[in-house]
């Protein structure tokens, strides 16, 4: 069978400041695995401008078919235009599964697509698998456990996944695939017109690449308590992470949130301060060699999930730790 007829597991590609976003390649890698199980091909929808041969990397990551829309109007993500193009392609190619990254674009585009395609969508999955009936099982953490969500009847089965949930695929330069150019109509008037997208270089240590992460939670108590945790991260030269309550309280911004609906991280050392061990946060941390928790409640669930535990009020413990670390640094070796 021709690959374009057989491609039933689709990924929406996303381009960032430096080419294809990593989450796109990770999703293609996962799509390849899912597609092999149900004997289908992998399709990718790639929209942008001046794309040159950027489809090559998608094929090397596992795509059999790339539907490529290359036009000036697609340079920036435009919700209405992208939705209209992708809805048309999905109706034509009828994929079984459609995956997007849990990025700013994906979080807006995915629900628009699902509503227009009259199908289900699962947010920020941390695992995807095909069950015995050939249905996509979409796992999310909730209520201290794991929930499996399925979309039994409607198609495509749609899910978003954050960067870092699935590994980077090994690129295979010998793979081949079909590339089909999509015609983009000119002069579509947009009611919501994105004029510019500004992405800043990150200050400090990025969470995704940090070897040590200090993450603070509601136990910080207030802005001053949060500042102490910031100081600890700084002294340890660590990335600074947070939980949903911290973001809700306004002590830190959304980009610092670790967990299912935030960032997925894989440090060597994780230090959780004033964190309750809520699964939505904990699933965001994969594979650290050492996990440490500081919490004033000896019964906190965090202590079931770490290697070393300290029962102390973090507002007392963190300043003491920071001060001792600074003294150590001041001492000659």
């Amino acid at each position: 069978m021709m690959a374009q007829e057989n491609a039933k597991v689709f990924v929406i590609a996303e381009l960032g400041m430096r080419g294809t976003e990593r989450v796109t390649l990770q999703l293609i890698g996962k799509a390849r695995q899912l597609a092999d199980e149900i004997d289908y091909g992998v399709g990718v929808i790639l929209l942008g401008s001046d794309l040159a041969d950027s489809e090559q990397e998608l094929i090397e990551a596992g795509a059999d078919l790339v539907l490529k829309g290359d036009a000036e109007t697609l340079e920036l993500y435009q919700a209405e235009l992208y939705t209209a193009i992708i809805v048309k392609l999905v109706k034509e190619y009828q994929p079984e599964i459609l995956l997007l990254g849990s990025t700013s674009m994906g979080r807006e585009l995915a629900p628009l697509l699902a509503a227009r395609l009259e199908t289900g969508l699962t947010a920020h999955c941390i695992d995807l698998a095909i069950n015995a009936s050939g249905i996509l099982e979409q796992r999310i953490p909730a209520y201290g456990g794991m929930i499996t969500i399925i979309c039994p009847i409607k198609r495509p089965q749609m899910a978003t996944v954050a960067e870092g949930v699935f590994p980077n695929p090994v690129l295979d330069s010998s793979r081949t695939g079909n590339v089909i150019p999509i015609e983009i109509q000119d002069g579509i008037s947009l009611r919501a017109h994105t004029l510019e997208i500004v992405r800043e270089e990150l200050m400090g240590i990025s969470l995704e690449s940090a070897q040590v992460i200090v993450a603070g939670g509601a136990g910080a108590g207030d802005v001053d308590g949060w500042r102490e945790i910031t100081e600890l991260a700084s002294v340890l030269n660590a990335g600074l992470g947070s939980t949903r309550p911290v973001v809700d309280a306004g002590w830190s911004d959304f980009d610092s949130m670790i967990g299912q609906s935030g960032k997925m991280v894989n440090p060597d050392v994780y230090i959780g301060v004033g964190i309750s061990g809520d699964l939505q946060h904990m699933v965001g941390i994969t594979g650290p060699k050492i996990m440490v928790a500081v919490n004033n409640d000896p019964k906190s669930h965090i202590f079931e999930q770490v290697d070393y535990g300290v029962v102390e009020d973090c507002r007392i413990f963190v300043p003491a730790l920071v001060s001792a670390l600074k003294d150590n640094k001041a001492k000659p070796d």
Binding site: A114, A192, D248, D268, D307
Partner: protein, 265 residues
């Protein structure tokens, strides 16, 4: 005068919500008596509506779908300053996923006739999907901007909007009517006032059920939801913890030793 709908959600009090846990034996989530409160980000959506009302005049309607107990949350919206509150409540609405929820809310907005603006909090504290605002826009065929952090220009019906985007932001020119979902950066909501609470006493909460919305039962609630939960499972803890004992200083020293061995300090 603008007509603004603010969609709000009654969520389990976030301070208590982590008590909701999957029962290891029954694999279900036991019902607990946790109070329903106004979803934190929805306060910012309400405040954005009030700011437009102060500048240009507006009728602000708070709209929610939920159990009858969600009426208290709408009453809070009235006390905060909403002109009216509408609760979509019917046993048929129960078990809705985001698709069915957005479809039902959109049907109610359509019933209200012309609107200039629909505002939502970016995300709910219990569902954490961010889907509903965008899906309401899709069902109403309105443009949407999610994660709005600032309204730069709001004169006439073409607004300029700033919204969060990965490690940065985007600027969008937006033709009203439209749907916006807002972040906490957009404004500083005012606290409940005694006079607001008094004023709210004379305001009515309108309740609409399946029949009022004239929707087929198979389009709402669990039946109208494309997705369903197929399994709940527990996770076992995977690490054996060693608790650091002793005085504060001893614990600090011990932790520094651990971090030093791990080359983290």
């Amino acid at each position: 005068m603008l007509k603004i709908i603010v969609c709000v959600k009654a969520v389990p009090d976030p301070k208590e919500a982590d008590r909701l846990k999957i029962d290891p034996v029954t694999k279900s989530i036991p019902r607990l008596d946790i109070q329903l409160v106004l979803n934190p980000l929805d306060c910012h959506a309400l405040e954005a509506a009030f700011q437009s009302r102060r500048k240009y005049g507006a009728q602000v309607t708070a709209l929610s779908m939920g159990p009858p107990a969600a009426g208290n949350v709408l009453r809070e919206c009235l006390a905060l300053g909403a002109d009216e509150g509408i609760l979509l409540t019917d046993p048929a609405f129960a078990g809705a996923d985001t698709y069915a929820t957005a479809f039902t809310l959109a049907s109610a907005i359509r019933k209200l006739g012309f609107v200039d603006l629909v505002l939502c909090g970016m995300v709910s504290s219990d569902g954490s999907t961010e889907w509903v605002g965008a899906q309401i826009a899709a069902f109403l065929d309105l443009p949407v901007v999610t994660r709005v952090s600032e309204i730069l220009e709001d004169q006439g019906d073409v607004w300029t909007i700033k919204s969060d985007y990965e490690n940065g932001y985007r600027i969008v020119k937006l033709k009203l009517p439209a749907v916006l979902t807002v972040t906490r950066e957009i404004n500083q909501p005012k606290a409940l006032s005694f006079s607001g609470i008094l004023k709210a006493r004379s305001k009515q909460i309108i309740e609409w059920n399946l029949e009022s919305l004239d929707l087929p039962a198979e389009r709402v609630g669990l039946k109208g939801s494309p997705t369903c939960v197929s399994e709940l499972s527990n996770l076992e803890s995977r690490r054996a913890v060693e608790m650091l004992e002793g005085t504060l200083e001893e614990k600090v020293d011990h932790l520094i030793e651990i971090l030093t061995n791990a080359r983290a300090a």
